[in-house]
Amino acid sequence: METVWDLFRRRGYSRREFLSFVSVTASLLALPANLLMSFGRALELREKPVVIWLEFQDCAGCSESFIRSTSVMPSDVLLDFISLEYHETLMVPSGIYAEQAKEDAIKKYRGRYILIVEGALTPAEDGVYCTVGGKANHHLLREAIDGAKWIVAVGSCACWGGIPAAYPNPTGAVPISDLVEGKTVVHLPGCPPIGDVLVATLVHLIAFERLPELDSMGRPKVFYGQTIHDRCYRRSFYSAGKFASGLDDDGARKGYCLYKVGCKGPITRNACATIRWNGGLSFPIQSGHPCFGCSEPNFWDRGFIYKPLSAMPDGFGPKGMLGALAVGTLVGAGVAYMNKKQAKKGGK
């Protein structure tokens, strides 16, 4: 049995570096100071997690994001951090050996492994749109659900259907929670989600052996409890009524709020504005692009990426207004005419 601390040691990292990982992760999880010691102790003693990672209809971006989540862990530790028993993109075996490894892991670690699912399910037409090793995705998921201790849906496809579910959704893509009964699915949405969020959630699961506090949609509150807008550094410009009108106009260069060019930050719950991306370097709004709400359900069909949130998605325009006024005028004139006619009749 190897613990997280053993892992750091084996990789040649000092205790100081391990403790720095403990404190960074504790701060990401917003743990109170009095829990810090027991949190560190748990990571010293508890076995590193066993993970079976299933990948269905997706782009593998969530896996990419995960292996770049180096703000909390050095990358060589990260790849060893989870005993990745099965991950199609990252594992060495392939073909029947890979499938065999997964089946063995499901048996061997029954009741102990963390099942991470990336990508949407496509149960339509018996799953013909997404098969692995000749098996349809919903069969693969069913096989793995029972023995899982925790289930984590990573990315907006697994959580909400995502891009594969975009209209007209030809493959009938649905979230994985549609198939899971009697177990809580931890949702870590995003397209992709921030890798550090996944690492910190896994650390929480192994250190405390319980789920983090979740919101009504199954997302850890600590990462998804606030909107991008709540923590955006451009918020003062929003409040001052200073908005960029284009992606490279004077306002944009001055760092004004991006609401008018389509920022969906006010309705998007995610941790980009606090944890940021690429080791805390930046996030889309900081790089000058509006948030398009990738962690919320239905973002793929919401459209109007570059229109203000308060405008109508497919527009209204003066034509719409004049059309409606013309209809009202015609009806008003018609009714007045009939009223007059009736009044005349009554008068006679």
């Binding site: 009504s216 409040s239 609401y259 203000p308 209204f316 207004m321 009202g328 004139a333």
Partner: protein, 224 residues
């Protein structure tokens, strides 16, 4: 249904539907009344009806000071409350940035917009005066007789729109923001739909009624 899906439904289909219904409704009300016209008045005019009508249309909206001098002593709450309420409500409707962008979408040009702090002041004053006006309505014996369900419903809807808008922008963070926004937009959609069917459509007739009032005054040869 999740908060965000409800939000999509409201801002997508419901908002569009209510704005269409609003424009159809107000054009219907305006032109129906206009085409119905007034019964013929055969009395010879004593003054200059059309000139007086134009004078009233041009001057009445800017004669608040005169109104103030004449009736403030008797109708303080209505005057001050009414003024603050209309200023706040119209200011918020057109000049809050989020609303200005929506108007830009509808009208094809964008009204200028205000910083949040001004919007906050307008919202507090509109809400406060709406409350005062409603209480006044309830306790004033004459007004109470003139007030029907229509007024109370309208005041409630407007109060809800103002209050939820203020809560959303000022006080709600995280998960609550979307719910507040949903309440705000849903109540605004209901209000927009309700306006053409209620006495709230009085603004449609404002200039028309001032014109007719001026014409009558001109006909009778009096000053007001």
């Amino acid at each position: 249904m999740t908060d965000i899906l409800l939000y999509d439904l409201i801002r997508g289909h419901l908002l569009k539907l209510s704005v269409y219904a609003f424009f159809i409704g107000i054009a219907y009300r305006f032109f129906r009344v206009l085409f119905l016209g007034l019964p013929p008045d055969y009395a010879p005019p004593k003054g200059k009806p059309i000139l007086k009508a134009i004078e009233k249309v041009l001057l009445k909206p800017s004669q608040a000071w005169r109104f103030f001098l004449e009736v403030f002593a008797h109708r303080g709450i209505q005057y001050v409350g009414g003024f603050l309420f209309h200023l706040g409500f119209l200011g918020l409707t057109f000049f809050v940035p989020q609303h200005a962008f929506l108007w830009g979408d509808i009208l094809g040009f964008e009204p200028p917009y205000l910083p949040q702090v001004v919007a906050d002041i307008l919202a507090y004053s509109a809400l406060g005066s709406l409350f005062a006006l409603t209480v006044h309505r309830i306790f004033n014996p004459v007004l109470r007789l003139l007030t029907g369900k229509d007024e109370y419903l309208a005041n409630f809807l407007i109060g809800l729109v103002l209050f939820s808008g203020l809560l959303a922008t000022r006080w709600a963070g995280g998960a609550y923001y979307l719910w507040m926004l949903n309440v705000h937009m849903l109540s605004a959609c209901v209000l927009i739909l309700y306006i053409p069917f209620s006495r709230l459509s009085h603004f449609v007739y404002y200039f028309m009624s001032v014109f007719f009032y001026g014409r009558n005054v001109g006909k009778r040869g009096v000053s007001f």
